[in-house]
Symmetry: C2
Subunit: 418 residues, 2 copies
C-alpha cells in the first residue's frame, strides 16, 4: 500500500506525443511491457542518466544518440521485463538493433531513437520477442490523446500502482500542458535510481535550455529521494518539449529563461517531477512512512543533501520509523557519520513533526527542554513525518524524501526473481 | 542463530588483567551490565574510536584520558544499557564522574580510567544506579583467572551470544597469551560500529608500537566488516599489553617490531581480532549468511575496500543473499555505484563460490561461458559464500565480510527499545 498516494485516473495528453503499448512477452502474465513514444518533428529532448559506472547497454546507446542527434529525438522505446545491463557487447548490439528497427518503421534516423530498459540485470533481452514486440508496438501507436495510462502501466516493474501526473500553465495567454509518467520503487537513491521518468510539454524550448532545466529539476526531485540507497544501472529522466503549442511560439520565439512566463513554466515542470519523485517514495518497496528530511545550517546545498540522504538511507533510522519508534538517537548517529568535517554536536539541533504537531528534540547539542519520549512517540504514529536538522554551521539547506525499511521491503527483494 | 559461530566455552586468562562484573540495573531482567577491568601497573593501552563526528561522551573522555595518561591506563569501565551519547554537557560530566569514582576506589588518577558505554542513544545514564553499580563492580574484582566469560556477557546488547577468543603464541621460548571479548551485532560498518572490542596480551609492548598495531589490526578486521552500514557514536577497539609475562622481557626489552617473534605475536593479535570481527558479522542482526567480499584489481587497497563495503552494504545485494537468489546483477550495480572514477565494465570480472564450488559469472565484462543461473542458485544455498570481484585496473586487493538483510534484521531494529 503506497503511503498517501492518490494517482489521477487520467492525465492531460500532451500535444505532439503519440504513444503505443503492447504486451510483448518480456513480462509474465501478459502484462504490458513495451512502450513506444513517437514525438513531433518540432520536439527537443533532454535527459539525465544514471551515474552508475556500469550503466546498462541502452543507457550507453541513449547517451550516444542524444548527442549525435543534438536532442532532435523522434522516438523513445521503453521495455520493462529486462534491464539489458551487464550483457556485454551482445547487449549493446541488441539495444542498437532495437533502435534501428524502430527507425526503419518510422522513417527516421537510428540516432533519433532512445532506448530504455528496466528489469533484472544480467540477462539478454530475447531477440525474437523484442523484434515482434517492436513491430506490434509501432502498429499500436494512437493519436495524441490515446494510451497515456497504458504507457504508464507498461513501464512498471515492482511498482504497485502506475504513476502519472499533469498540470497546465498559462503562457502568452494560452494553455501549455506539462505531464508524464514514471516507474520505480526499489533501488531508488540519489544520482538516479531504478527509475524511469518521462515528462512532456507542448511548449517550445531550445535543446540547451531544456537540458539545463532537466538537470536542475532532476537534482531537486529524482536525485533527492531514496528508498534503499542503491543506484540502478538503467535510470533516466527524460524531458521532452514538443513545441507544437501555438502559445509559446506566439512571438515566433521559443520559451526561454528570460520569457515572462518562464518561472510559471519551469515551476510547473518542477511540480510535475516532484509529484512523480514523491510517488516513487510513497510507493517505495514496503514503504509505510513518507519521511521528509530537511537539513539547514550547512555550508553548501550539497553538504545538506549528503546529510539528508545519509539519514534517509540509514537502515537503523528507517527501521525505527517503520516501528513508529522515536529512537531519535539514530538520527544523530546518521548525521554524525555523514562525513562532513565541520560537524559540531554543540551546534546540532533536531526537530520532529507531522502535519499537526512539531517538537524540538535537541537544541544546540543539548536535549531540548520539554521534549519527552511520549511526545516523540505520539508524533511518530503519523504516516507522514518531517525531520528538521540544523547543523548550525552555515546558511544553506536542502530537502530530501525517504521511505522506511519494513518487512515488506525484505520480502519484495528476496522474492523479486521468483 | 549466528552463522557457523562456535564460541569457545572459556578462554585463557591474560596475566595482568583483573575483571569484575555486576548487574547494576541499567539493563532489564537483572542482566549483567557493568564491567570493570583493572590492569597491572606495567600495562600499556592503545585504542581506536568511532569516526562518527557526534561521538558519545565516554568516547570524548576516553580520548582525553588516553592522551593525558600517555597510555598508562589502569582501568576500563564498560557499561551496557545506555550509550551516554547525545546527552550534552550533563553526559560529559557523568562520564568524568564515573572515572573519578573508579580512580578513588582503585587509588589511581582519574585520567588512568577509560569509560565505555553502549545501548540506546539520547538518554542520560541514571546517576544513583551508576554510582552504586561502580561501588559494587569494584568489590567484585577477582583474580586474573576469574570472570572472563561474565565480562564478555556484561557488555552485550542485541548480541545473541557472547564473543570471546584467545590463543597462545611463543615468544623467546615462553608462552604469551592474546585474548579478549567483543560485542556488537547491529550498526556495524566501516570506521568502527556499535561495537566494543577488547584484546589483552601479557606481552610487553611500548605504547607507540601498540598504537600502530592497534590501528593496523582495526583496519583489517573491525573496519572491514559490515552488517548495516551504520556507524555508532560509541565504538572502540582497545588493545592492552600488560607486560607481566617474563617472556617478552627476557632480554630486558619490550617486544618491538624488529623482535624475531614480532610476526608471530602481531599475527596472533590479528587472528584474535579477526575471529572477534567475524563473530560480530556471524551474529549480525538477523544474519543468515556470512559473505566474504574479496576485491582485487584496484589501484589502491582503499579503493578495493570501498567497493567491497559498497557491495556488502547494498540492501539489494543483501536481500538477494538472504533469499539464496543468484541475482548477481545487483553486485554489478553495487560496484558500479561505488564512486571509483576508473571503473570499466569491460574489465570487470566476477566469481561466486562456497566451500565446495566456485564459478566465474562475468569475465572482462562479458557473461562467463558456462555460467548458468542454475549453477549460481546451487552455490547460493550455502550459508558461507564468497564473492570475488576483479576490477581489472590495478594490483591491489582487500577483503571485507558482510551479513545478509533478513526479516529478522527489521524485527530486531523495529523492536529494539520496546
Amino acid at each position: 500500500m503506497p503511503v498517501n498516494l492518490v494517482v489521477p485516473e487520467s492525465i492531460t495528453a500532451v500535444p505532439g506525443v503519440r504513444l503505443g503499448t503492447v504486451a510483448a512477452g518480456l513480462k509474465k502474465n501478459n502484462a504490458k511491457d513495451l512502450v513506444l513514444v513517437n514525438l513531433d518533428t518540432t520536439s527537443h529532448t533532454a535527459a539525465v542518466f544514471t551515474r552508475n559506472a556500469y550503466c546498462a547497454a541502452p543507457v550507453t546507446v541513449a547517451r550516444q544518440h542524444l548527442k549525435a542527434s543534438k536532442g532532435a529525438i523522434r522516438a523513445l522505446l521503453i521495455n520493462s521485463g529486462g534491464a539489458n545491463a551487464a550483457t556485454g557487447t551482445q547487449g549493446l548490439q541488441n539495444a542498437r538493433s532495437h533502435c534501428s528497427q524502430v527507425a526503419d518503421i518510422l522513417g527516421i534516423a537510428t540516432d533519433q531513437v532512445l532506448p530504455f530498459s528496466t528489469g533484472v540485470i544480467g540477462e539478454q533481452l530475447p531477440g525474437d520477442t523484442m523484434r515482434n514486440g517492436i513491430d506490434q508496438v509501432a502498429l499500436s501507436l494512437g493519436t495524441t490523446s490515446d494510451h497515456w495510462r497504458s504507457a504508464a502501466e507498461g513501464i512498471m516493474t515492482t511498482d504497485t500502482v502506475l504513476k502519472q501526473y499533469s498540470e497546465q500553465v498559462e503562457v502568452d495567454g494560452q494553455s501549455i500542458t506539462v505531464g508524464g509518467f514514471a516507474k520505480g520503487s526499489g533501488m531508488i537513491q540519489p544520482n538516479m535510481a531504478t527509475m524511469l521518468a518521462y515528462v512532456f510539454t507542448d511548449a517550445s524550448v531550445s535543446s540547451d535550455v531544456l537540458q539545463s532545466l532537466c538537470e536542475e529539476v532532476a537534482d531537486r526531485t529524482f536525485n533527492s529521494v531514496t528508498v534503499d540507497g542503491d543506484t540502478s544501472t538503467n535510470d533516466a529522466f527524460v524531458l521532452v518539449a514538443t513545441g507544437v503549442s501555438g502559445a509559446s511560439r506566439v512571438d515566433g520565439n521559443v520559451l526561454d529563461t528570460d520569457h515572462p512566463a518562464w518561472p510559471a513554466f519551469s515551476g510547473s515542470v518542477l511540480r510535475v517531477a516532484t509529484w512523480l519523485a514523491h510517488a516513487l517514495v510513497r510507493d517505495g518497496e514496503g514503504a509505510s512512512k513518507f519521511i521528509t528530511v530537511r537539513v539547514s545550517g550547512g555550508k553548501s546545498e550539497n553538504d545538506c543533501k549528503l546529510v539528508a540522504l545519509t539519514v534517509g538511507n540509514s537502515p537503523l533510522v528507517k527501521t525505527a520509523f517503520f516501528a513508529s519508534d522515536a529512537n531519535l538517537g539514530r538520527i544523530i548517529m546518521a548525521v554524525g557519520r555523514s562525513g562532513l568535517d565541520y560537524l559540531d554536536l554543540n551546534k546540532f539541533s533536531l526537530a520532529l513533526g507531522n502535519a499537526e504537531k512539531r517538537v524540538d528534540v535537541m537544541d544546540a547539542g543539548q536535549p531540548a527542554p520539554g521534549y519527552t519520549d511520549e511526545i516523540g512517540q505520539d508524533i511518530m504514529q503519523a504516516a507522514e513525518l518531517q525531520i528538521d536538522i540544523d547543523l548550525g554551521a552555515g546558511e544553506k539547506s536542502w530537502t530530501c524524501w525517504a521511505s522506511d525499511l519494513s518487512h515488506d521491503y525484505v520480502s519484495i527483494n528476496a522474492d523479486y526473481r521468483s
